[in-house]
């Protein structure tokens, strides 16, 4: 029962130590408690009976007597307050009924004969209350009925709610496991199967492993759905890099500072630059760095490969002219290609935000 438990206190006691015990349990001055008991004792002796009741409650393992004494104390007090006999009987019955129902309900058992007995008692008490003429007691009746219902049904509903919660979290766990299994199957297991089939082709194996690693990382660490390339600039660049890696068997290291919503023009231009590097530089690794500042997105695509003489690129080479420079300029950006034979190439793409 959620009652604050107290024990009689040997320390500073006058009689059995009930007042001192209450004062300790509630953290108030013992004199105040004694004063209240003395005042209650003036009300037809209710304080004395209450004292006995609490003493019985704390010192014996027979709460029955304590409850009985409590009821006597309550009725004495009500009598002293001028409540009619019938009203007192009603209130006492309701209280006893509620106590019984609570006792049974507290055990969380579904079959609760005592609860029904308690409800019956409370019901009789309610009827008595309704018949008694005074207004304040009449107000107690509906409250008593509601209280009894809550006491009887409450624990049952509570337990049902707990069971439903447990069921739901179990279902969520199962769903999560199923989702993980599905993802692992769709990606990791497929890749492992492919790797076994292509064991003789180191380049292909490396590419497969690389792509799988990138996907898993994205999923595990960036909370990014597998294959998602639309949520941010870095995610889109990462997806573009993965495509180029797979198509051309290179490794692309992507670093970034900051992130932004995806910008098609610069992502596609960067992808084109990566493709060019993969096709013409003759290297295995390409570095890509995206720097997102407040007013500017800059993407650098760099390789340490063959390089070329920028002036010597024929006009009909579509790649740089159209896919990179034209695309960016139409979006309001710019591009610079730095390259010389033997010293690698760096493509610098800028787009104002």
């Amino acid at each position: 029962m959620p009652l604050r438990s107290f024990t009689t206190s040997a320390e500073g006691r006058a009689l059995a130590g009930v007042c001192a015990g209450i004062a300790q349990a509630l953290g108030v001055d013992v004199t105040l408690v004694r004063l209240i008991f003395a005042l209650l004792a003036l009300a037809g002796g209710a304080g004395i009976v209450l004292y006995l009741a609490l003493w019985a409650w704390s010192s014996s393992d027979r709460p029955f007597w304590a409850i009985l004494l409590l009821l006597v104390a309550g009725s004495t007090l009500l009598g002293a307050l001028g409540v009619s006999d019938r009203g007192i009987a009603g209130i006492v019955l309701v209280a006893a009924g509620l106590a019984l129902a609570l006792r049974q309900g507290g055990s969380f058992r579904r079959d609760a004969p005592l609860s029904y007995g308690g409800i019956a008692l409370a019901g009789i008490g309610t009827v008595l209350l309704l018949q008694s003429g005074t207004a304040p007691t009449r107000l107690l009746a509906p409250g008593a009925v509601v209280g009894a219902l809550v006491l009887v049904c409450g624990p049952l509903l509570w337990r049902l709610a707990l069971e439903r919660d447990a069921e739901r979290s179990a279902r969520i766990r199962t769903d999560e496991r199923a989702e993980v299994a599905e993802r692992v199957h769709d990606s990791v297991l497929q890749t492992l199967a492919l790797i076994q089939r292509h064991a003789g082709e180191p380049r292909r194996v490396a590419t497969l492993a690389r792509r799988q690693e990138r996907e898993l990382r994205g999923w595990l660490y960036a909370a990014r759905p597998l294959g998602d390339d639309g949520s941010s600039l870095v995610a889109a660049l990462s997806a573009a890099a993965a495509d180029v890696e797979e198509l051309h068997g290179v490794r692309i290291e992507l670093a970034s500072a900051g992130d932004a919503p995806p910008e098609n023009a610069i992502v596609l231009a960067a992808r084109e630059a990566m493709t060019n590097a993969a096709k013409f530089a003759g290297v295995e690794e390409i570095d890509v760095y995206a720097d997102v500042a407040d007013d500017m997105i800059a993407v650098f695509v760099r390789d340490r490969g063959a390089g070329f003489e920028p002036a010597s690129v024929p006009d009909d080479r579509q790649g740089i002219r159209e896919s990179i420079r034209g695309r960016l300029e139409r979006a309001g950006g710019s591009s610079v290609v730095t390259s010389s034979p033997g010293a690698g190439t760096e493509v610098e793409l800028r787009l104002p935000r």
């Binding site: 690693e213 990382r217 994205g218 595990l220 660490y221 960036a222 990462s238 490794r251 290291e253 670093a255 970034s256 500072a257 900051g258 690794e285 390409i286 570095d287 890509v288 760095y289 995206a290 720097d291 500042a293 650098f300 760099r302 760096e346």
Partner: protein, 211 residues
């Protein structure tokens, strides 16, 4: 000069791969797979460099650094990891690691990085450089007025080039500096990363993950 190196990683295959790929300038004198094994081993062997995985079965890499560093101040740590949460990488750097590289690093670059760390310099992967740039990005001027909380324009330039994939000697050539100067800029950034109280650093690390 052959650097004496201890490898700490719980993946046997990876250990074997690293051991076979490291160059002539590196001698692997010991290996451990857990924090509990690594701490006494490192204290006993007193190597030049410890290559340290950020995640181990019984703890994180910074636990090893914290346990070893007071007794063996000469041992340098280089964090080597697959993708990890930025907060873990920052923890290992702030515990005293001289750098962080990803496990996909080419063998000769790893060998070079070990030599650099052994000599007291710092090593940043492009990813870590990008991260540091982001974390130190000009923020609230009131909270970032201290010298430790701000990168100099030169340090910013150097870090940007690292993020773009430039090696130290390429950076030196491009900025008309000596390699030594580039190294000292990176070491200075490392010091700021380890000592700065800049609040963006912690916030950044908890919000982002190095991928």
């Amino acid at each position: 000069m052959r650097w004496r190196v201890v490898l700490v990683d719980d993946h046997g295959l990876f250990l074997a791969g690293v051991r076979s790929q490291l160059g002539e300038s590196v001698e692997v004198v010991g290996e451990a797979g857990t924090v509990a094994d690594a701490v006494p081993l490192i204290k006993q062997l007193d190597p030049d460099v410890v290559l340290l995985d950020v995640h181990l079965p019984d703890g994180k890499g910074d636990a090893i650094i914290n346990a070893v560093a007071p007794e063996r101040p000469g041992v340098k740590f280089l964090a080597l990891s697959v993708s990890d949460a930025a907060e873990d990488v920052i923890a290992v750097i702030r515990a005293g690691a001289r750098g962080y590289v990803t496990k996909t690093i080419a063998a000769e670059e790893l060998t070079a990085a070990i030599g650099r760390v052994a000599q007291g310099d710092a090593v940043f992967s492009p990813r870590l450089a990008g991260f540091v740039l982001d974390a130190f990005r000009a923020g609230d001027p009131l909270t970032s007025s201290a010298e430790l909380d701000e990168l100099t324009p030169r340090e910013r330039e150097v870090l940007q080039l690292i993020a773009r994939g430039y090696m130290y000697k390429e950076i030196a050539a491009r900025l008309h500096l000596s390699v030594k100067t580039v190294e000292s800029h990176v070491s200075s950034v490392l010091r700021k990363l380890q000592l700065s109280t800049r609040h963006e650093l912690t916030r950044w690390a908890t919000q982002h993950r190095l991928v």
